[in-house]
């Protein structure tokens, strides 16, 4: 059975919900959102701490409250969301294969928006030596067990990784009565926000050990101890610096990766640094009519940016659908608003020195474009430069730069006039 839809959105987290709402506002009626979990809202449902929505709503909402703003609006608009369904595959002609307890369904969409979010790196990804006992959790799994399922995961806990989720779980577990012995960070700086270091660690006297890592896990059935060692600038363990922490639980907060298997299998062009698809200024991937947004495109630090990226993807998808040519099953290449005629030349955007990645990876000038990027290392009194060849077309000064904070910089259509290429790099002020 093949079901036709104008727009299919994969994932009902903040990116997918914001995209669905925006698409309907833009006149696309036949929208379907597919969600793997039993309820919409995505990871926000388990992020019970506050601080969401400061940009969009000008208040500090908790994760569930932020999600409710979107689920309520989607419900009022009558947007169809199917839960407990997992997308297995999307093809180049935008057939979406989905599996649910009811069986397999195949949809054909005029446009698809990818909004699957991200998942956590695990012990296997960082290869911690030692035994393999119970009691090693990723931070998000621990958060789900403690905040949703009422399962307390341990009593004496060591956390590896000082990203925001690790810091937030340090406080959360302390408030649930656990003893968090330390947060261990391999880098010489925390990859979390200062607000979280102050309010999640310092408030509770939890030590943050920078330039340290966990070098061994002990225990047969359950974790009994972990060994923590100092590392040098290159990340190599320093001999004679190891210290044993008796504990029953190790939590890993060691990075997030876009959950992109279906994008990879579809054969679209990917970016090895972000782990997401390569997109243009419309957030369109290398498959015409397939767009990507939110954490599946690039891992964000603010939900507000995830939502606004979802909206941009929806604006583009709505334009694509309005110009859709029914007889060819592809976008028309005769209409004046044609979006994928193949001959509109895109200009590549590259990350230069000091910039880890920049998005979008290619642009068509002629409009204002907001670029997202992250720096490679913390810095003070630096500038972000946008260059076309040797010519600097934009310079933005920063007092402080931090890899933990995504930078978003808008360039006007005028600034982007007559460029031949675009490189973004860091320079001293």
């Amino acid at each position: 059975m093949l079901i036709n839809k104008d727009l299919i959105i994969i994932g009902a987290g903040p990116a997918g919900l914001a995209a669905a709402i925006e698409a309907v506002k833009r006149g696309i009626r036949d929208v379907l959102v597919l969600e793997r979990e039993p309820v919409a809202g995505g990871i926000l449902n388990q992020c019970i701490h506050d601080g969401f929505g400061l940009i969009r709503f000008d208040e500090a909402l908790t994760g569930p409250e932020y999600a409710k703003r979107f689920t309520d609006e989607a419900a009022e608009m009558g947007i169809e969301i199917i839960t407990d369904v997992m997308v297995q595959e999307i093809s180049r002609d935008k057939e979406v294969t989905a599996i649910s307890p009811g069986g397999i369904t195949i949809y054909r969409a005029k446009a698809v928006i990818l909004a699957m979010g991200c998942r956590e790196r695990t012990r296997g990804a960082i290869g911690i030596p030692g035994t393999r006992p119970a009691g090693v959790f990723t931070a998000g799994v621990a958060q789900n067990l403690v905040n949703i399922r009422n399962v307390m995961i341990g009593r004496n806990i060591v956390i590896l990784g000082s990203g925001d989720i690790g810091l937030i779980m340090a406080r959360r577990l302390t408030l649930e009565g656990a003893n968090v012995l330390a947060v261990i960070e391999k880098l010489p700086y925390s990859s979390g926000l200062q607000r979280n270091i102050t309010q999640c660690l310092e408030d509770y006297g939890i030590p943050l050990l920078l330039s340290h890592t966990v070098t061994r896990v002990e225990g047969r059935e359950r974790v009994t101890a972990v060994t923590v060692s100092k590392v040098d600038e290159k990340g190599n363990t320093l001999r004679g610096t190891s210290e044993k922490y008796k504990c029953d639980t190790l939590i890993l907060s060691v990075g997030l990766i876009p959950e992109n298997e279906i994008a990879l299998n579809s054969g679209m062009d990917m970016d090895n640094t972000t782990g997401g698809a390569r997109v243009d200024e419309k957030l369109e991937t290398s498959i015409p009519g397939v767009f990507a947004c939110g954490n599946v495109l690039q891992v964000h630090d603010l939900a507000d940016h995830v939502s606004s990226e979802g909206e941009l993807a929806a604006v583009s998808a709505a334009d694509y659908i309005k110009n859709y040519c029914h007889k060819a099953g592809e976008s028309s290449d005769t209409g004046e608003n044609c979006l994928c005629s193949g001959n509109d030349r895109k200009i590549p955007v590259t990350a230069g020195s000091g910039i880890r990645y920049v998005l979008p990876q290619a642009i068509r000038p002629g409009q204002a474009i907001t670029f997202s990027m992250r720096v490679t290392v913390p810095g003070r009194e630096k500038s972000v430069l946008f260059k076309s060849g040797e010519k600097v077309i934009k310079k933005r000064k920063y007092t402080a730069l931090n890899p933990a904070e995504m930078l978003r910089i808008e360039l006007s259509s005028k600034e982007l006039e007559n460029i031949s290429g675009l490189e973004v790099c860091i320079d001293g002020n």
Binding site: T62, V146, G177, A400
Partner: protein, 123 residues
């Protein structure tokens, strides 16, 4: 006697490492190394009457979920956070729970209520 302590400002991403001078009655008398005036305001609040929002969970009996997420309706004094969290651990609420339902008023005399941040239906 004047003492000093380092406070990292959390108001904006600049993260100024401020040197804050405090007198013997726990009042901020001088702030150095802040790039703007917000730093001084933050330091004063942080030294003299620090407050935090409390977010946690409360057990639900007879609900579709075993827990409901909650928050304080306004920030409470920082030194009451642990006690308030312990109080919430001992609390049980009967389902259903409405969105923003008050589960506990005026927790520990702070004037803040504990409210549900999601709905939990009956099982």
């Amino acid at each position: 006697m004047e003492t000093d302590r380092e406070i990292v400002c959390i108001v904006c991403p600049n993260g100024c490492r401020m040197k804050v001078y405090i007198d013997d009655r726990n009042r901020v008398v001088r702030v150095e190394n802040a790039l703007c005036r917000n730093g001084g305001t933050y330091a004063k609040k942080e030294v003299q009457s620090p407050e935090r929002s409390l977010t946690s969970t409360v057990k639900v009996t007879g609900g579709a979920l075993p827990l409901v997420s909650v928050r304080s309706s306004k920030p409470i004094p920082r030194d009451k956070i642990r006690e308030a969290a312990a109080l919430l651990r001992s609390l049980h609420i009967q389902a259903p729970v409405d969105f923003h339902q008050v589960l506990l008023s005026d927790i520990l005399g702070t004037g803040a209520d504990i409210i549900a941040t999601r709905q939990v239906l009956k099982a």
